[in-house]
């Protein structure tokens, strides 16, 4: 029973990871670059949201409406002035550029917001929970999980069915010159840069950490890493990679 509970908590934790991973998976899938500053930009936007909450009386849901356009603007600047200059066959420039940006952003945030923990004004959602049988489930993690599911499904649908999505997939295929060498371009999106693959990976990571935590509080994160290495050793093309 305790283990079943660990799996539920792990899946909920995975929902949060899935949201983090979604943007990364899209970038990986289309541009083949790793944005080391991805997490820092995420935290930057969260901190902006927390600061805005103090001055804008729009409520936590209203904040999302405000923060998303800001996120789009930040993303556009990042893409236009940094990422587009380092995209290429050589992975080193993009890795180094985003690494430098990551260090700069982290310390900039430390200067501006200090190292204190901050949170949005509590509207009761964060601490609310409900009971299913013998298990207690937090309301906020469930909302996060549902959002992650909807976002993943939405992005997948956009990539699959719209003209824009087809363009993105073609761009992904072109940079790899995959079509020329006879590799089915679909595999690239379906492989490591897979959208649902990222979702599933996040779930696996969340469950592994939650189970590890139950065994020993010191083992939680280690279990996540070990699962990563295990997947690498047994299925290096990723959990969701399509078979040829």
């Amino acid at each position: 029973m305790q283990w079943f509970d660990a799996i539920i908590q792990g899946v909920l934790l995975g929902g949060m990871y899935a949201q983090y991973a979604l943007g990364m998976a899209l970038m990986f899938g289309v541009m083949r670059i790793v944005n080391i500053a991805h997490g820092d930009v995420m935290i930057l936007l969260s901190l902006i949201a927390v600061s805005l909450a103090g001055v804008l009386p729009v409520g936590n849901v209203g904040l999302i409406v405000v923060i998303v356009p800001i996120a789009v603007a930040v993303g556009w600047v990042l893409q236009k002035f940094i990422l587009n200059r380092v995209v290429g066959a050589d992975p080193l420039p993009s890795l180094i550029a985003t690494f430098g940006l990551s260090i700069a952003l982290q310390n900039l945030m430390l200067e501006v917001w200090s190292a204190d923990t901050r949170s949005l004004p509590n509207s009761g959602v964060a601490s609310a929970s409900f009971q299913i049988g013998p298990f207690y489930v937090g309301l906020l993690p469930v909302i996060v999980l549902i959002c992650a599911f909807v976002l993943t499904g939405g992005l997948d649908a956009v990539l699959r069915w719209t003209r824009f999505g087809r363009g993105l997939r073609a761009a992904a295929a072109d940079t790899e010159a995959a079509a020329m060498t006879g590799v089915d371009p679909k595999r690239i999106i379906g492989g490591m840069g897979s959208i649902w693959g990222a979702f599933l990976g996040a779930m696996v990571l969340g469950v592994a950490q939650a189970v590890g935590l139950r065994i020993d509080p010191g083992l939680g994160i280690l279990f996540g890493h070990l699962v990563f290495l295990l997947v690498l050793a047994t299925r290096p093309e990723g959990i969701m990679a399509r078979k040829k």
Partner: protein, 333 residues
């Protein structure tokens, strides 16, 4: 018809002769430090030597073998821990334990490489980070290694400060000789040509008969051992090691910064970068996060506009290599 009377291949240049002489003077200066420098300066010298060695090893990996690792701290940590266990728990002479501790990074590097070799570029980088984090978390959970609290090298108290300093400067000189000298020797050897070819284009190199996979494996293990050597010396000088310090991702950040700013793919670059980093840290370290913002932005700017770093800019002013690896045919008629 004129006949060619004398033909020879030359590699040394006037600049390299000056650099070699200076290098020898620096080494002699380093080894004699306990007799003329203060203890504080010796500590700085040890630190600088470790930075140069770690950065040079990263340069060999990223600059030549095309293996971008952000997990070199794994090898620093394991050899540091190996040293502490050998000296403290098994009673091995600590100075003798330094070379012995290099077994640990070598043993760790082999499975790491075989696990990660299928990944390229960014995937490889992430893989090395995960391995380093897994090793750190693993060691944090081992009670024999005092878990998260770390180990202290108490056996060092049996040596006088002077004895320790003499041993440290000799170890540092050996460290520089093996990492810088070793890299130079490697790049001038037959494998050096293959490595340079790999740096420029791995696929073309493979088509010319370079065994890219095998060479990468050797470089990865050699770099792990070289990095571990620096780690052992560094933590022996610190007298303390904890999982948080020994496996600090800062080591990877520092290597990236030094090599990118100094100039990737050149031995000179790692040395210049280490000197810049070391003195910038001394001069501006007190500004804390503002200093790190500048450091981060500098790395970003170099990745965007000056991929060759400071050494690349110096090369544009004139070709004066310190460690020439090219051969020149000199014809005397």
């Amino acid at each position: 018809m004129s006949t060619i009377k004398n033909l020879h291949v030359s590699r040394a240049t006037p600049s390299s002769r000056i650099a070699m002489s200076l290098g020898a003077i620096v080494l002699v200066g380093l080894v004699t430090m306990p007799w003329w420098a203060t203890s504080g300066n010796i500590r700085w010298a040890i630190e600088l030597c470790c930075y140069i060695a770690i950065a040079q090893m990263w340069n060999l990996l990223a600059g030549y073998a095309g293996l971008v690792s952000v997990g070199q701290q794994a090898f620093i940590g394991v050899s540091g821990y190996m040293l502490f266990v050998l000296a403290q728990n098994f009673g091995v002479n600590p100075f003798l334990a330094v070379p012995l501790s290099l077994i640990a990074p070598a043993i760790l590097a082999v499975p790491t490489y075989f696990l990660l070799k299928r990944l390229d570029g960014p995937y490889f980088a992430i893989g090395t980070w995960v391995v380093a984090e897994a090793v750190r978390l693993g060691i944090s959970n081992i009670d024999y290694l005092n878990a998260g609290a770390g180990l202290t090298l108490r056996v060092m108290t049996q040596y006088s400060q002077h004895e320790r300093e003499v041993a440290f400067v000799i170890l540092c000189a050996l460290l520089l000789l093996t990492t810088i000298g070793g890299s130079y020797w490697l790049l001038r050897s037959r494998h050096g040509l293959a490595l340079t070819a790999m740096r420029d284009n791995p696929k073309a190199a493979a088509s010319q008969g370079v065994n890219v996979g095998k060479l990468r494996f050797y470089i990865f293990v050699a770099a792990a051992v070289g990095t571990g050597f620096a780690g052992s010396i560094y933590y022996m000088a610190q007298l303390r090691i904890t999982p948080a310090a020994g496996f600090d991702p800062f080591w990877a950040s520092m290597s990236i910064f030094i090599v990118m700013v100094g100039g990737i793919g050149a031995i000179e670059g790692a040395i210049i970068g280490a000197l810049i980093y070391f003195f910038a840290d001394r001069l501006f370290g007190e500004y804390g996060s503002a200093y790190l913002i500048v450091l981060g932005l500098l790395t970003l700017i170099i990745a965007l506009y000056a991929r060759g770093g400071v050494w690349g800019l110096l090369q544009k002013l004139g070709d004066h290599p310190w460690f020439p690896v090219r051969r020149k045919l000199i014809v005397e008629e």
